[in-house]
Symmetry: D2
Subunit: 376 residues, 4 copies
């Protein structure tokens, strides 16, 4: 990788320098008042970014997103509890495995990778669970492996239609801060994310938001040395996102993603996401022709042009390569990634015409930039 | 706190700017080869810093030291297992509580806070455990609450004398990287520390070292997004420590600590550590006169002079204040802390003569600096 | 301008983060030995980068490149002295004006902007100056306004053929560190540059190199507070350039420039540089169609896409826009700039097909990357 | 020098990290609008910091303070012009030498080093100059070599009393931003300073302020690449100073200086400044006993304790050492410097009792901190 090139992996994202600097703090006595001046707005900022209801409570701790999932499950459910989940990609698969490892009984649905979560089928399962043995529904909002976003509001609607009291747990790791996430409106009980995606920070901070009803433990205080720098960065990240306006942030991601999707169409390729409504605004998984190992694209891009794309994972390993387009990324920088992908595919003998994806993306970016300029 | 003043808390420590910069990296694709160039030397460096045996295995993960303890216990012991531990301060107390929360049965010894761990008594308990029901001995190398270091080698000798096969777990959070820690020579099976003490890094990284026999889980790879920056900092931290030479690092801490202890004697006060051999080189807990609330010193120092000292914890809350002297700290900066403590105690009416502690520390630092200059 | 986009101005260049950090130093006592450890390798590094002869002497001082020119002239020539110079762009024009302001008599030649310096005509003037009234020849190695590089070796050859003893002053501001500059081989007596171009540092440091015969003043020491940070950056910049190898650095710039020129041809446009041998490797001045104000491209790129290109200056104002391609810039980032220029020209109604320049540049970068990979 | 220790030289000063960061900017196109957003408040801020009259004009350029002096003289006076100046230290001596080098005729007064400028004598000379041949009075506000501040208001009063129209040039390099400087009230026509003293920035920026009547040249715009980062730092520096309030800034320097002077008295030594009203708030030159080479203190402090003090210059070389106390420096850090000086003097056999200066300074800082707390 060349440090002057942006990365095109679906997180960790390219980080604004101001956020990196906010993280890089000299030592602060975390028992001093100054610490509260950092922590409080960080917590409040996260709540606003995810549109948490007033009674929600944000927890931050130095951990991976995976540990965040574990903390969410372990602090609210008990071994033997039954949960409903559906695998539609690698990350939902891992969450199901973790739930089992924690002793939960998983009522597991499956849809083909590339599809969104089946709200209707989930509702049917819940309706059939008259005894309310199912304590929680686990939903992956944005499947990073397939570039598929699911309709969490529809799942909530299905739960409500079934009159089922299960808690709704949502993995928002690769959606929160980049795509609409309406914790309150969607009735999400526990939301999980990390610092290294939409918040554009280094990895290392798990971010959880519990509705009061879901919070089994009463937190308060940090009974350990907090990662002051990361939380200082989180405070500023929320300020930047909220200062831009969350709807503007979402529109920006949608615009960048639109150009990437136009390029994919320009190349004559298709997305892993099977339907338009499932297309993620943060990552596109691009299907390569049958018989071609998509992993070669990622390796060649790294070795020859110093650019990082994402490999396919699990069931779509070798079948897709992924272009991350979340976090700090402009239209101009997206074009650099698209142009690189074209060079790579041409180098590897795929029938992609140089400039074809770029031109399609340029049309998209020109039109949307003109519309923004006209609106301003 | 004023940012131009060093902190005198027992961790997180003052950080060298080069380490902060090593942590502050642009996004790196952690699936690229560049990541290995950071991770491998970081792991090898930690092993050298703690003098790990060849078969030991270092684990790094984004977590607090507390979570590091938990991971150490949870990955090697099972609920119902019996462990031997001794409370001699706040951090040993917390570890015992955690062990119980994990379902372990704790054979608990107690000594007064201010004393080191009783190797002989521990040996007697082990000798009496003829059935070897005790699976592990938990030892806090340096009690940060009392400024007491314990003789881990003596505990190992007692274990060996008893012919007992229990594992030896050592909390080296506030000793590793600052005081001698001979994992191999002491037969330590699991050592735990964090990034924010002797390694002089931001908080957020748990560092564990398992001997092969203790490693229940076979790790390898990072099944999640690693905290690349912190581990990049850890790599450089190890290079700095090993480049200086660990014995030189230990001597430096001993020298700085010696000046602080001379100042305490100059003030006519005493340490919480009950005997000279228990005096920590990383933190001094200073007993204040009967009837005086030691916490006022910490508050007043912060409010009036912008300097952070450590409060007393647990059984010695209000009875001691703590001066941290680990990590990046020169003799000159230690004198600033000592001079500040003098002003604070005088402000609060304690019978401390201005300049008395400073002069005692100056004598210590002059003599030791002269000896170093003569040796060089 | 958006901070995530590279700049495409012909200096100051995009700066590697390591160089910015090397400049950002805490206060150093510049009377301490540590200062020599920075200054000496910086001076030696500059001498190596420009292939200075052994008797040359590098001077550094906080100043603009313009002040560097002034210092070069003022310290070696006296009012009334005669110099030979040729205007072929904005920067040569300014140098001539400065020489006059300093009281020098300028024998001025002119060639059309877009042409290189006329070595043959210069030789003829010198041959005719039998009394050797001309004390110095002023030559602009790379005309930043027109993207024209001149053959300094040919000028030296013409001077030698004329048997003329005049000194040879060369403005290498936008060439040194990016294009071959052979101070010794070309018999350059005084070379002038600044920190913000090939050295990829912030502006603020003038860099002069005098051959012994030209050095009227005996310097030594800094009789003022030196800009320690900038010179620390210069030290590292030289290490990076020399570590890569100057020929590799030149090849890298040639490669990036080649892609930009391919794109210009792909657009059906032409360069200001009138002949291939005059094409600069650091900046391309692109002629726009008759009747179109080229400045609009620069304004529109900045306002709509947050990308900085260079405007036309002086006689070519409104007729060209400039793409800087020196300093930190990869093929991938150059494609971002090319794609942006395409969008801008299309937005402004110029008959440029989207993707046309990108595809031409991609071909160039693919082929050259493949050749490099094959060679490695 | 050890990087964890503050410096105690009279500039460059210890720099707040926020200012260093403000200077460390990625490349900005200085022809873009963003540049004006940096430059304008920087210029306005400087004018407010020095209490410039409304018609004054601030000039910034990458240069040393020395070059700033030269620019001030060269742009307002002509060779042959007569100026009045008085040597009372090294920097006034240098300014006189420079004026002569520029062809000015200097009417030179002298007072012993350690005294302030003699306003009355200067007035007498001006009164005697009935033909107003003297075009300018050159005054060094704060003599950094001797730690002597002069009364510029008194010089203006003497000029006015003499009814003399000469311009008043003031070197405020080591006073502006730290001690009261009332450009308007004092009728200063040209004020000169640099970035590396009261503004707490890296060296490299000359800062000039001309009253309209003194400004021979009409500037405007930067006809060269400006040092964007330094000026960005200057903008923030002014914001910090003005945000704190200039009178509070002055009081802070006075308080820190007071502790240093108390320490000097505690050591039984005296200042170079011959009278209390001449004592500088930014630097103290401390006289050492007859027959002792004061330079040894500076060398020993650097070598043994890694701390930088200032040597004596010119006529007081070997007779004084200097403690800088301007810029970022707390009472606590000043005590570190005082304690170090004590150790050094004791090491070198001077009859200084350890803790004596520290205790005197502690009394000063305790009392003033208590007064501030009471006022707040």
């Amino acid at each position: 990788m060349r440090p002057e090139n942006p990365v095109f992996i679906p997180g960790p994202t390219n980080m604004p320098e101001v956020l990196r600097r906010a993280c890089d703090m000299p030592t602060l006595d975390h028992r001093s008042a100054a610490w509260g001046e950092i922590l409080r707005p960080a917590l409040a900022g996260v709540a606003r970014v995810i549109e948490a209801p007033a009674d929600a409570r944000v927890l931050l701790f130095p951990a991976t997103g995976t540990a965040g999932w574990e903390a969410a499950l372990a602090n609210t459910l008990s071994p033997g509890d039954r949960v409903l989940a559906c695998e539609n990609g690698m990350f939902s698969r891992r969450w199901i495995a973790m739930a089992r490892a924690l002793g939960l009984e998983v009522e597991e649905l499956r849809v083909p990778w590339g599809e969104g979560l089946p709200a209707q089928r989930m509702g049917e399962v819940l309706a059939a669970d008259r005894g309310h043995a199912i304590k929680a529904v686990l939903a992956t909002h944005n499947e990073t492996a397939t570039g598929v976003v699911s309709d969490i509001g529809a799942i909530r609607a299905a739960m409500d239609a079934a009159g089922h009291p299960a808690l709704l747990f949502v993995d928002g790791v690769s959606s929160i801060g980049s795509m609409p996430f309406r914790m309150g409106a969607w009735g999400v009980d526990v939301a999980v994310t990390g610092s290294q995606k939409g918040f554009m920070l280094p990895a290392g901070l798990a971010i959880l938001d519990f509705r009061a009803m879901a919070a089994a433990t009463e937190g308060g205080g940090f009974p350990y040395t907090p990662p002051v720098g990361l939380i200082s960065g989180l405070k500023l990240s929320c300020e930047l996102l909220l200062g831009e306006g969350m709807e503007a942030v979402f529109a920006r991601h949608r615009r960048i993603a639109g150009g990437v999707r136009a390029a994919v169409a320009g190349w004559g390729l298709s997305l892993c996401a099977a339907r338009p409504e499932w297309r993620s605004e943060t990552v596109s998984a691009v299907r390569t022709p049958e018989g071609f190992d998509a992993g070669r694209i990622v390796t060649h891009a790294a070795e020859r042009y110093g650019v990082a794309f994402g490999v396919g994972l699990g069931d779509v390993a070798g079948k897709v390569f992924r272009i991350g387009h979340l976090g700090l990324l402009s239209d101009v920088q997206a074009l650099a990634g698209i142009a690189t992908a074209e060079m790579v595919m041409a180098d590897l003998g795929l029938p992609v015409r140089l400039g074809s994806g770029v031109a399609a993306a340029q049309e998209h970016y020109r039109a949307s930039a003109a519309a923004m300029a006209a609106a301003a």
